[in-house]
């Protein structure tokens, strides 16, 4: 990024090169964590970061390794700046790489200002609790794991599962019921994914005409690993600019955050830091949190910032540090299931492992429908019972079940094929989703509907609601 080609300091004597670390004589004036250029004697320039500075020495981590650094001819040049993103409203519709340089061939941005890509923490006392329902048109999300503006809700996937298609469907369909005129934007951060996956999203956006209200930051698998660290931060900085300075409702999609975490581990081990679980650095929780916490709503500001990161769980293991730490930070998770995928169910959303913690604020009368919360709890309970009986019946056989249990067993199958499953191009209204839930309740014994208040039973259970109309 060409913020300044003016180098203010230049240090020479590099004393030691080890792994990706250069240990040089102290460079006066260098700032902690600043981005530096390392010029090799053959003229090649690599970037690096000052990770430890003192009167005795400056430690620079070189991105992409230190091969080719000879201790005599190489130079470290510092710019006196940490990484910043140039911003202006013209960034909408543009595509950048993981250092913030534009890669779409269009003319460079004329910036209104530069923003530090690390952002600043939102004061908890000025946060507005998120409460506006986003209708994604997907029953398993809207009905059971509702998303609201300002939430951070990741998709936990596995390799080969259709997370990209689900994300694309959400991008296509997401709407908010609102009377007000509002501005939307999408920020897309691709982190270490294949070129094909990146272009799948871009084509999708193009096709739906959403590209001109999108900003994309693309770091593909073949791009430098270090830029995987800056890519999501650039994306979030752009999103903050749009949300807090331009009053927009911004949805940020980051994929694949597993690649981000792998990059973090790689850099950490090069720094010889003490590893925590499975080699990931102990600060990974905080590192991820400083990014995801940039989601939210702020009192007195019109915009909002919603984050939907996508990550693939190594070995489909939800206890792996990457999904585990993410789950400890985000406000729930949408988990994809290989089992449902094998049964041919799209979207294969595992509703037991999935959770939206902001749901209760976003649903109910005026927002979705008065019976939403009750219907949601009852659906879970019935499906859970059916799945438990399914498990038992694999050993003892379904015939050995009682009559009531058989009803629950069939209900679980229908729940998967009618409620969870839907077309990739099918956009269900939240009312439509709730009506499916009620049609499934109608085969259950009525006295079992303990989680629904009687007034809703009388109003929505098909056998009563049909009579009324």
């Amino acid at each position: 990024m060409n913020i300044s080609s003016l180098y203010i300091k230049e240090g020479r004597a590099i004393n030691r090169a080890k792994g990706s670390l250069l240990i040089a004589e102290s460079i006066p004036g260098i700032k902690f964590n600043e981005i530096v250029d390392v010029q090799l004697s053959n003229g090649e320039i690599k970037s690096g970061q000052a990770i430890d500075i003192s009167e005795e020495a400056t430690v620079v981590q070189v991105f992409g390794g230190v091969s080719g650094v000879d201790l005599i001819g190489s130079k470290i040049r510092c710019k006196g700046e940490t990484l910043k993103l140039p911003v202006s409203t013209d960034i909408l519709g543009r595509i950048f790489n993981g250092m913030g340089d534009s890669i779409d061939g269009a003319p460079p941005i004329v910036p209104d200002g530069y923003l530090d890509i690390n952002g600043q923490p939102i004061n908890p006392a000025s946060r507005q609790p998120p409460a506006e329902f986003i209708e994604t048109g997907i029953s398993a999300i809207d009905g059971l794991n509702a998303l609201v503006r300002g939430q951070k809700l990741p998709i936990f996937s596995g390799s080969g599962l259709p997370h990209n298609r689900i994300a694309a469907q959400i991008i296509r369909q997401a709407t908010v019921k609102s009377k007000k005129e509002e501005k939307f934007a999408l920020v897309f951060g691709a982190i270490g994914i294949s070129y094909d996956d990146a272009s799948f999203f871009i084509r999708n956006l193009e096709r739906t005409g959403a590209l001109d209200r999108t900003i994309a930051f693309i770091n593909t698998a073949s791009d430098p690993v270090i830029e995987r660290i800056s890519t999501p931060r650039l994306a979030l900085t752009a999103a903050e600019y749009l949300a807090w300075e331009q009053d927009m409702h911004v949805l940020v999609i980051l994929t694949d955050m597993t690649n981000y975490c792998e990059a973090l581990r790689e850099l950490s081990s090069m720094r010889e830091e003490i590893p925590s679980r499975r080699g990931y650095p102990g600060y990974m929780y905080t590192d991820l949190a400083t990014m995801y916490e940039r989601a939210g709503r702020i009192m007195g500001k019109k915009g909002s910032l919603t984050i939907m990161p996508i990550l693939t769980m190594p070995d489909d293991d939800i206890t792996h540090p990457i999904p585990d730490l993410t789950g400890y930070i985000t406000e729930g998770q949408i988990v994809l299931s290989r089992n449902l995928e094998r049964k041919g169910i799209y979207p294969p959303i595992d509703v037991f492992l999935s959770l939206s913690r902001m749901m209760k604020e976003g649903i109910g009368p005026d927002k979705t429908r008065e019976d939403h919360n009750n219907a949601f709890m009852q659906s879970y309970a019935a499906y859970a019972e059916g799945c438990y009986l399914r498990e038992i019946s694999t050993i003892i056989g379904a015939e050995a079940l009682g009559e009531r249990d058989k009803i629950y067993l069939t209900n679980a199958d229908k729940f998967e094929s009618e409620f969870i499953a839907q077309g990739e191009l099918e956009k269900r209204s939240v009312e439509g989703t709730l009506d499916i839930a009620w049609s499934l309740f109608s085969v259950l014994p009525e006295e079992d509907l303990k989680l629904i208040s009687e007034k809703f039973i009388k109003k929505y259970l098909p056998k009563y609601s049909k009579k009324q109309t």
């Binding site: 006066p28 003192s54 923490p121 003490i274 037991f352 079940l401």
Partner: protein, 584 residues
């Protein structure tokens, strides 16, 4: 004046620091970033920065303040929202806007506000540390007792009545030729426990309004408890429920390295909800600390001590205080982060070897005490901490170290949470060692408690044993008696233990209602057993309207519960238990 010699993340080494002391607070660079000295070596000081160090350079100034990390104590604490260093977050919003700027300062106690002070001591009275000399009505719920700071002793030479700011003198205490000025405010170093006269055993029920806690695994006033559980198992919701409904005089909520949106939610809801016993806004009896996960890591370490110091201060006034910390794992991680930078020998999973003792130095500050000074009074500080074990694996070091310290364990179970059984507190692995400590309380309020509780726990235990058989032979192959047991266990789980935090009525359940609910289920069990013995089939019992009615007990308000449940009992006893009234 010192200067920066080295920067490595939150670790700063400053040169030219002769005369500094360990734990002294320093201000770094032109922004005045706050740091704390954690070690000294000749002229150099090792400093942990409580704020972000990005962009600092060697040679920038480091200024000692001569103070050690202390909390401001006095009127103005209640209803406030602080960061981990006790900066008022509301003041920061006014001064610097919606985002937290590095180095920004804000007092914990407002300096311009006047408080109405009424003395209770008079001129000539001999006083010493802990003595109450007057009161300030801080909120409608909290009468703030103004105490003589520890270490001061003498006779009151003058004491004033009227409206004062926290910095204006309100009394003078004379000892020999020395005169000490007393103010509404005092300070206390947060890492040092506040003194008391005598330590007592925890006793009396801390009513939480959560059935599984109050009835099954009770917490005593002055006790210490932990709540470990994987992500999404309900730690935060449970902790928030505790500070919402606990029948204590003041509660402190520490959000330590957790989510901003959760904090916003709790702050907003406390401005709207009323305390069940006084009907006043909950905000009038709460203090919040919000050091969210994106705020500086090192300040997390301080946040816990700042919170516990405020808790002890109100305990010293003779109040019962509950402090919850969410999550102590994030706190331990802050220690690990600093330890790593200092290149200390790491212990298990990279945590510093002193992590266990640091954890116990926090929990040990819980307790019931005879407070220092006169008049004679008892106060208690109860602590519950959330623990966030990686991969929900309780064998990890923070959980293990915590379990060793606490006397009540609320183990949250991922599989219960996945089934949406909330609170997901496992009845098989949780325990409370306070059962004896609360026996007196229950004897006075509900003499059948001990017995009812034991029956319920036994039924649940038997269910767990039967579960394995069910998986092999199916539920239909069991003898009738076992089928009934499974039915009753299910009723205990779903109609008693399950309690939605979001249910208008059920969110808070009085111990009286809890007792009656469980007794109803147990009575149902006894009657059903009799019926089975006299030949009624389990099918008839299962489909009895009583089963449905019992499941709706939760909806009945606390106030009218006793009356309404009596009707239910009559119906049950009359033999209406069998469908369509047909008793054999």
């Amino acid at each position: 004046m010192g200067k920066i010699w080295r920067v490595s993340g939150p670790l700063i080494i400053a040169d030219n620091m002769k005369g500094s002391q360990v734990y002294e607070i320093v201000e770094i660079g032109k922004e005045g970033i706050v740091g704390e000295i954690i070690g000294l070596e000749r002229n150099k000081a090792i400093i942990q920065a409580h704020e972000d160090t990005l962009g600092l350079k060697t040679g920038e100034t480091v200024r000692g303040t001569g103070k050690i990390l202390s909390a401001e104590l006095g009127p103005g604490l209640v209803g406030s929202i602080y960061d981990g260093l006790q900066k008022s977050l509301l003041t920061l919003v006014e001064n610097t806007g919606s985002f937290i700027k590095r180095g920004a300062k804000a007092y914990a106690l407002p300096r311009d506000k006047k408080w109405q002070f009424s003395p209770t001591a008079k001129v000539g009275d001999p006083v010493s540390g802990g003595d109450i000399i007057g009161t300030v009505p801080e909120t409608n719920l909290i009468e703030h007792k103004i105490m003589v700071p520890a270490g001061i002793k003498g006779n009151i030479r003058e004491i004033r009545k009227g409206d004062f700011t926290v910095e204006e003198p309100i009394a003078w205490v004379e000892h020999k030729n020395e005169v000490n000025e007393l103010k509404l405010m005092q300070e206390w170093p947060v890492r040092k426990p506040r003194p008391y006269k005598q330590r007592l055993d925890p006793s009396g029920l801390l009513t939480t309004g959560m059935r599984i806690i109050d009835y099954m695994f009770p917490l005593a006033l002055g006790g210490k408890a932990a709540m470990p559980g994987g992500f999404g198992t309900g730690k935060t919701v449970a902790q928030q429920q505790l500070v919402r409904w606990a029948q204590t005089q003041l509660n402190i909520y520490i959000g330590c390295g957790e989510r901003g949106n959760e904090m916003a939610d709790v702050l907003h809801s406390f401005r709207k909800l009323n305390d069940p016993s006084t009907g006043r806004l909950l905000q009038e009896k709460e203090i919040f600390i919000a050091n969210t996960s994106n705020m500086p890591v090192v300040a997390r370490e301080a946040s816990i001590f700042v919170g516990v110091t405020m808790g002890e201060y109100f305990r010293d006034m003779g109040y019962d205080i509950l402090l919850v910390a969410d999550s102590t794992s994030r706190w331990a991680e802050a220690m690990r982060e600093m330890g790593g930078r200092l290149e200390e020998m790491p212990g298990e999973e990279g945590f510093p070897s002193y992590m266990g003792s640091r954890l116990s130095s926090f929990y040990e500050r819980a307790g019931m005490v005879n407070c220092l000074g006169s008049p004679k009074r008892k106060g208690s500080l109860t602590i519950t901490g959330a623990v966030s074990p990686p991969g929900a694996d309780f064998s990890e070091p923070v959980t293990q170290n915590t379990i060793r310290i606490v006397d009540a364990l609320y183990a949250l179970d991922v599989s219960l949470a996945n089934k949406r059984h909330f609170p997901a507190i496992s009845w098989l692995t949780s325990y409370s060692l306070y059962v004896d400590a609360v026996m007196d309380w229950w004897d006075k309020n509900d003499p059948g408690w001990h017995n009812t509780r034991a029956i319920a726990l036994r039924v649940l235990q038997q269910e767990a044993e039967l579960e394995e058989i069910v998986r092999l032979v199916g539920p239909e192959a069991l003898p009738e008696g076992d089928k009934l047991l499974l039915l009753v266990a299910k009723m205990i789980r779903e109609d008693f233990l399950q309690q939605s935090a979001y249910h208008e009525v059920d969110t808070y359940c009085t111990p009286a209602k809890a007792g009656l609910m469980l007794k109803t289920i147990i009575r149902f069990y006894e009657l059903s057993q009799e019926m089975l013995n006299s030949g009624t089939g389990i099918e008839n019992i299962r489909s009895s309207p009583m089963v449905y009615k019992i499941s709706r007990m939760k909806d009945i308000p606390n106030e009218t519960f006793e009356r309404q449940i009596k009707e239910l009992w009559l119906e049950m006893e009359k033999g209406l238990i069998v469908h369509k009234g047909g008793v054999s």
